[in-house]
């Protein structure tokens, strides 16, 4: 086992223990809030579990079928605007919480994707196509157009800055 992986494993274990301790304290101090928090967590878990299975399956498909050379060509630092476009579109059309996508992004990154495109993918997730009608009703046309346009434009700056880091 790699040193870094082992370190992550222990960090994750301690993190989980800390959160469980907080829940135990909450159980004795305020059982109602404990129940509400646990129920809220359970609802989130039920929501993401199918997505996790999908992401694991997608990861396996990428590992099995996709040629690392091809990924490196389209999403490496040298890919330029094409790489930005692929990652921005990927971010916009992706669904679910961002943390579900981390393992898949890391997997593609290990195959040659530049980290700046990972950042673009995670950033452009703020553009939510299925929620556009709701945004228009709540905040208006002007707000919706400017809000989403600004996110797409600023993702270019995120790409360029992350590329230099």
């Amino acid at each position: 086992m790699k040193k870094e992986t082992r370190k992550n494993k222990f960090f994750g274990f301690y993190f989980l223990i800390t959160v469980i301790v907080i829940y135990v304290i909450l159980f004795f101090l305020n059982p109602d809030e404990f129940n509400k928090s646990l129920l809220a967590s359970w609802k989130i878990f039920k929501m993401v579990i199918i997505l996790i299975a999908f992401v694991i399956f997608l990861s396996a498909l990428i590992n099995y079928f996709l040629n690392p050379m091809k990924i490196a060509k389209n999403l490496s630092k040298e890919a330029g605007f094409k790489g930005w476009l692929i990652s921005a579109v990927g971010g916009i059309i992706s669904h679910g919480p961002p943390y579900v996508w981390y393992p898949l992004i890391k997997n593609i990154q290990d195959k040659g994707m530049n980290q700046s495109f990972s950042a673009v993918f995670l950033y452009t997730r703020a553009v939510k196509i299925p929620l556009l009608p709701m945004m228009i009703v709540f905040f208006g046309w002007h707000f919706t157009i400017i809000f989403n346009l600004m996110i797409i434009i600023s993702s270019i700056f995120i790409w360029k800055i992350m590329e230099r880091i």
Partner: protein, 146 residues
């Protein structure tokens, strides 16, 4: 025979992908439990009390609260609409909506463990700063248009 080998290879790839995910599952479960806590303790009423009416501090507060709270973006739109109706500035609302999706304080431990410390910190910091920048530019443009 060849088909059987291919199937076995794919299954072992699938198993490897699941194992990689399982390795990070303690943090993942911890993050979900944290989000449950935040959803219970930070209500729309609490958020309304946080904002003061000052454009500058409200923009920063919008970014901070959006970064801390995690959940379905639909909720951020509902809270944002409520805050707007209560007279909170557009600067704060835009910063709040962007940070809700792009910055994740609660899920930061998980992002660090999967993506690395440098990437996670830089990405979140950049997203936070750009949310403020977009809030300022976006609100100014919207002010001019209307």
């Amino acid at each position: 025979m060849k088909k059987e080998t291919k199937r076995k290879n794919f299954l072992s790839t699938l198993f490897r992908a699941a194992k990689e995910f399982a390795l990070n599952s303690p943090i993942f479960i911890g993050v979900i439990l944290c989000i449950g806590l935040f959803n219970t303790f930070i209500s729309t009423q609490t958020l309304q009390k946080i904002f003061t009416g000052n454009v500058f501090s409200d923009t920063i507060l919008g970014s901070i609260t959006g970064s801390i709270i995690a959940g379905n973006p639909i909720n951020s739109y509902i809270i944002g609409k409520q805050l707007l109706s209560d007279g909170i500035s557009l600067y704060a609302i835009i910063a709040f909506l962007i940070c809700w999706v792009t910055v994740g304080i609660v899920q930061l431990p998980y992002e660090i463990s999967v993506m690395g410390k440098k990437f996670a910190f830089t990405r979140n910091l950049l997203s936070f700063l750009f949310a403020i920048l977009i809030a300022i530019i976006g609100s100014t443009i919207l002010g001019v248009i209307s």
